[in-house]
Amino acid sequence: MSRADRGHLVFGLIVLAALAALPFVADSRYVLGQVILALFYAIVASQWNLLFGFAGVFSLGQMALFAFGGYATAMLGFYLDWSMWLAMPMAAVGTVLFSLIIGLACLRLAGAYVALLTLAVAQVMYLLIVTDTDCFVMQGATCRQFTGGAVGFARFGDLGTRAIFKGDYVVANYAIVAALFLVTMGFTWAMIRSPLGLAFQALRDNPGCAVARGINRFSTQLLVFGASAFFTGLAGGLYAAHFQAIGPGVLSLSTLMFIIAIAVVGGIGKLWGPLVGAVILVLADEALREVGGEYRTLGLGLIIAAAMVLMPKGVIGLVEGVMARLRPASGRATELAKSGT
């Protein structure tokens, strides 16, 4: 096991212990709710990080995949009365198929072209949902659009935790979200270490050399795109099931920016960057709310620009840099040779 992997494992165990201890320490339901939100953000950011930080695919459609998973879960529950536990995995599979269609259309291109097209796809999705006014079914006296329209969906079922745990259901939901987060991180780690992971990291670092070695850029990047969609869609489904609501708001630019800000502040291309970023930004968000809620978005925009300019490798990159300096010189050379993940 390499030094980097040992580091990831130790960090993972610390996170596991912290996540397990939190319900006993956090006294209020509000704190637990914010942690759940941070974990959702961390899951989506970690998949965006897998796509951009490790595979070099600059997609701005991550929230479109999240929304697809959430909407698919909500619609399966709403129209077909499916249990959330069945709807969520089906929605995640659907999200993978959806992402493959987007990928087939967009991934033939590179760099900024991919960013623009995926952003346009997300924007079209948003517009089609918000401008949907045709009645699909009548719910009492109110008209219900097929896509939920500008209002979205609510009351389509829940995780079943409320019936079992009564007042403590938030703790149970927290456990489910935390478990999904840990599985997602394990998946991301396995992806990066797999032969496929080596292939897409090679494509990121030196596309010419990687292609010359026989790696197919299009199919490799399409595979990562589809793989990252699974947990993004599953997180979207769980988000809808936990909040028992989903609306077009998840497709807004500011939500997407929040996800990107998390990855940038934590450290792009660092395995645990999204978690660190999510914790920092949710705390910053809380602090900005204290100062004045209306400055929240302004502050986040400035944070993302400043973080990109001042610390492009994120907080984890900063800490790694400091640690590399503190280590004796002989150890540094081998560490430099091994670094990369």
């Binding site: 951009f52 600059f58 259309a105 967009c106 033939r108 291109l109 760099g111 900024a112 072209y113 960013a115 623009l116 097209l117 952003l119 346009a120 796809v121 924007q123 079209v124 517009l127 089609l128 401008t131 949907d132 030196n206 596309p207 010419g208 050399c209 630019l253 500011s254 920016m257 990107i260 800000a261 940038v264 209306e294 400055y295 978005t297 302004l298 986040l300 925009g301 400035l302 944070i303 993302i304 620009a305 400043a306 990109m308 300019v309 492009p312």
Partner: protein, 294 residues
């Protein structure tokens, strides 16, 4: 036939506006390889700058018309000095993606600043021509004629500036080959600054024109920017004449699709066409496959 006229007028007017928005984007992409996500925010601020002077402060219209140009150019220059230049100096290899993220943050911050200062309610832009022209049974508002005329003049001026002036030659040289231009004594940093200021000034004017036929709101620039991006992508990023042509063609398609299929299908259809074009030609209609040294 009665309906064809207004649709045509609307298509050509929005085409002109998209073309003006693409000029700024295309210039910056061509020279720096930088996708300025804050371009839409510059449009918005341009519209609000004119509104502030003309309506709130009561300034005469020549002053109010120049305000968006000045404010846009200033913010464009600030974006280069505070964001693009440090990113370019630190990591030129990952500049293309880093700058998108950073300017995305700037865009959200600027848009939100507008929201905080002016509030979310829409305002009407007072700088607009009243009345309309009647030609062969088609009503053409004078404001639309003015927009097309202003856009044509600005395009001609930009083309002249790029083709004939010393600064324009320096911009083209830098766009073609940064290092070679630098070796021949072109001050590349100053050229970049000029390009962003120029693009900001054009964006400000564009914002004024857009707000004159719609309404002022903090998200005014978002839609034209996204469309302008798509025009640039279809034509091949950095290709100025191609982007202008694509702007008019796609705007007309969008106008007719909105009329024929309903307003909500205009943009999705546009996107579908663009994706099909890009599958056929991944570097855009007029883009040449870039030869990259790896």
């Amino acid at each position: 036939m009665e309906i064809l006229g207004p649709v045509l007028v609307a298509g050509i007017t929005t085409g002109a506006l998209y073309a003006l928005a693409t000029i700024g984007l295309s210039l910056v992409w061509g020279a720096l390889g930088m996708l300025n996500m804050a371009h839409g925010a510059l449009l918005t601020i341009g519209g609000y700058a004119a509104f502030t002077l003309a309506t709130l402060l009561g300034a005469p219209w020549p002053v109010a018309v120049l305000a968006p140009v000045a404010v846009g150019a200033l913010i464009g220059a600030a974006i280069y000095l505070l964001v693009a230049q440090p990113l370019l100096a630190r990591a030129p290899r990952s500049f293309e993606t880093n700058v998108i993220i950073a300017t995305f943050g700037v865009a959200i911050a600027l848009e939100n600043a507008v929201l905080l200062i002016f509030g979310g309610q829409p305002f009407g832009q007072s700088i607009a021509l009243p009345g309309h022209l009647q030609a062969g049974g088609i009503f053409v508002p004078w404001q639309n004629v003015l927009i097309v005329a202003v856009v044509l003049v600005l395009m001609a001026a930009t083309a002249f500036f790029l083709a004939r002036t010393r600064a324009g030659r320096a911009i083209r040289a830098t766009a073609q080959h940064r290092e070679a231009a630098q070796l021949l004594g072109v001050p590349v940093g100053r050229v970049y600054l000029q390009v962003l200021a120029l693009s900001g000034g054009i964006a400000g004017t564009c914002g004024l024109l857009v707000s004159s036929i719609t309404q002022l709101s903090p998200t005014l620039g978002a839609d034209p920017m996204l469309k302008a991006f798509i025009m640039c992508v279809v034509a091949g990023l950095g290709n100025l004449p191609g982007a202008i042509g694509a702007a008019f063609v796609l705007a007309l398609i969008e106008a007719f699709a909105s009329y024929g299929l309903g307003a909500r299908w205009g943009f999705p259809l546009l996107l579908a066409i663009v994706i099909l074009v890009l599958i056929w030609r991944p570097d855009g209609l007029f883009g040449r496959a870039a030869v990259r040294r790896l």
